[in-house]
């Protein structure tokens, strides 16, 4: 493959996993996790003419066997029961369902299996060389545990996909998670596995769920040195986030030499996100996929699968942020200028907030952060600590 230029001159073959059915993953009307986001992003891409029907691939259903690559049978059985409304509140408690975060709903097993299947469809498309990259915005549910639902996640599509890749393609997987919440479910699933490297950049767990993702979580046994965590301070802004992300992503890629990169592209580090305390803007959401695209070409012959994730300002933040992943993936260039009028006309009446008129956030979106210098310095220290392990290995005589 030609050396990746990164200047918008290259068109890659990419696939967009999409189905209206993603919206069946729905807890409650007032629940912050809302898959309407995926539709909003897709329609935004349609209205700028960045995507056509030929780019779409439908998600398939993950089989039970595939779910069991990561999840335990009693858990899958419980979700199936909950899916048909026959799991009691008492029984659900053990498996983390029926809580305010992950309430039970009819058809939850099927809806969750479709999200996992969508990620598997993306994996197959890329690893069978049908496309260079694939995007499943319905996935990225990184808090799902082996036998427990949590943080709006039931089945962990990222973890299932990684294990699926290990068993079917024997490839080394680098998982990069830039959701504002720690990618704990995926990290713990591969904590002792040296063929799967996880890097999570997230808001520190001092206040934010799930509380883990400390810089000293580095893996265990053979997997030691294959988990990386960069918890950034509350109120972190674009520059500092981009700096730690770029430095860490480059170093880890160089060190681990992956065969394929999976990114979890939660869009909740934005200043408007109601659940987190970071202060990033649209700038970050152009930068994140650009670097992933770049490094996938540099190290993995282009093999890159991007997933969705968190993102709770579904009107002003997520559609633009997620559409840019596709723009960069397929056209090597983020969209610029005004948001198309037809998209605004269709969705503004349904939105409780004023939709943004431009792809780029305007200056002055938030008040100046008084302790910016200290926050930046602190993040730099954390980055150093996280990278120490690589530095150490690097300096050892061969």
């Amino acid at each position: 493959m030609a050396k990746y230029a990164g200047d918008g001159t290259m068109t890659c073959k990419a696939a967009f996993v999409y189905s209206e059915e993603f919206r069946t993953y729905r807890f409650r009307d007032d629940h912050p996790f809302n898959q309407l986001r995926v539709t909003l992003a897709y329609e935004l891409l349609q209205s700028i003419g960045s995507i056509t029907e030929q780019d779409l691939i439908p998600p398939r259903m993950a089989t039970e066997e595939e779910l069991l690559l990561v999840h335990e049978k009693p858990y899958v059985d419980a979700i199936k029961k909950a899916s048909s409304g026959s799991l009691s509140e008492e029984e659900g408690y053990e498996f983390g369902v029926g809580t305010e975060d992950t309430p039970m709903f009819n058809g939850m097993h099927e809806a969750s299996s479709l999200l996992v299947g969508g990620t598997l469809s993306a994996v197959d498309a890329v690893l069978q060389d049908k496309v260079d990259h694939a995007l499943n915005l319905g996935g990225g549910l990184h808090h799902g545990f082996q036998r427990k639902a949590s943080g709006f996640c039931i089945y962990n599509d990222g973890a299932v996909a990684i294990q699926y890749i290990r068993e079917h393609y024997q490839a080394k997987v680098l998982y990069i998670d830039t959701d504002a919440h720690h990618g704990d479910g995926v990290q713990w699933a591969f904590y002792d596995d040296p063929n799967v490297c996880t890097l999570s950049v997230h808001e520190t767990g001092r206040y934010l769920f799930p509380g883990t993702g400390n810089v000293n979580e580095r893996g265990i046994k053979e997997g030691y040195g294959y988990s990386f965590n960069i918890p950034v301070d509350a109120f972190t802004e674009d520059e500092s986030f981009m700096h730690v992300y770029e430095t860490a992503f480059r170093k880890v890629t160089e060190y681990f030499k992956p065969d394929v990169i999976i990114t979890q592209n939660g869009a909740d580090a934005h200043v408007l996100d109601p659940l987190t305390h970071l202060c990033c803007t649209s700038k970050l959401y152009e930068f994140i996929p650009k670097l992933a695209h770049n490094l996938a070409h540099e190290y993995c012959d282009g093999k890159w699968i991007a997933l969705g994730g968190g993102g709770y300002d579904i009107w002003r933040v997520v559609p633009r942020a997620w559409a840019q992943i596709w723009n960069i993936m397929a056209h090597d260039k983020p969209a610029e200028g005004d948001i198309p009028k037809d998209w605004l006309d269709k969705w503004q009446p349904k939105a409780p907030v004023q939709l943004p008129s431009s792809w780029h956030d305007h200056q002055g979106l938030y008040k100046e952060i008084p302790r910016k210098a200290e926050i930046t310095e602190k993040n730099e220290k954390v980055l150093e600590k996280a990278m120490q392990f690589i530095q150490l290995k690097h300096n050892l005589p061969k």
Partner: protein, 215 residues
């Protein structure tokens, strides 16, 4: 929380007439820093730390000449009498002992016999568990007037939202002693509804709490 719930019960101990060399080997092999010294009735009569042993070991520069130093008996270097704890002591009391006596380990005895050991590391681990950071949760801090009856009012708000509490800490509010800060770790990714309810009920929620930042 009681010492017996936290202590290690498999204790490596030695007799007073064994050599420093034996102790050195045990410390290294087991990655431990303290060895209680017991008599034939398993009564604790002394304790040696890795520092005691190192002080009594030959310098690395004179390792050959001074090898006989390692053959000295432990009774020549052990600390005695020993501060011990009882299985029914509270973990907090042990923390005070560590702090006041500037030590990092106490043997636990019952009817004078050695039954366990608790170290600074066990202590810190317990403290980590008590803060709840090891369980998936979000943290919120609520500034409240320091008077009776406030706490149940606050927890009632959490209860109405079916929000499970992982841990609770109560701090003094430094700038004004008529207030306290209640720190909750909550088992939810979305504390917003709870925060809204608390604010409606007139509480000040510090989330996140960073000096110099407006909420």
């Amino acid at each position: 929380m009681l010492v017996e719930e936290v202590m290690k019960t498999e204790v490596i101990s030695l007799k007073a007439d064994e050599t420093i060399e034996t102790a050195l080997k045990l410390l290294n092999d087991h990655h431990i820093r303290h060895i209680p010294i017991v008599d034939e009735h398993n009564h604790v009569i002394g304790i040696v730390s890795d520092r005691d042993v190192r002080d009594a070991s030959p310098s690395v520069f004179q390792i050959e000449q001074d090898k006989e130093a390692l053959q000295n008996k432990l009774e020549s270097i052990m600390s005695s009498p020993v501060i011990t704890a009882h299985p029914l002591d509270f973990v907090e009391e042990i923390a005070s002992i560590f702090y006041e006596h500037e030590i990092a380990c106490v043997p636990v005895t019952k009817a004078n016999k050695l039954v366990g050991i608790i170290t600074e590391k066990d202590m810190l681990y317990t403290m980590i568990q008590l803060t709840g950071v090891n369980v998936q949760s979000s943290q919120i801090e609520i500034k409240v007037i320091d008077k009776p009856g406030i706490f149940p009012e606050v927890t009632a708000v959490l209860g109405r939202r079916k929000t499970n509490i992982t841990s609770v800490l109560i701090y003094p509010y430094q700038p004004d002693s008529t207030y306290k800060v209640l720190v909750f770790r909550l088992q939810t990714m979305n504390p917003m509804p709870v925060i809204e309810d608390l604010k409606l009920a007139g509480y000040e929620v510090l989330w996140p709490n960073m000096p110099g930042m407006e909420q």
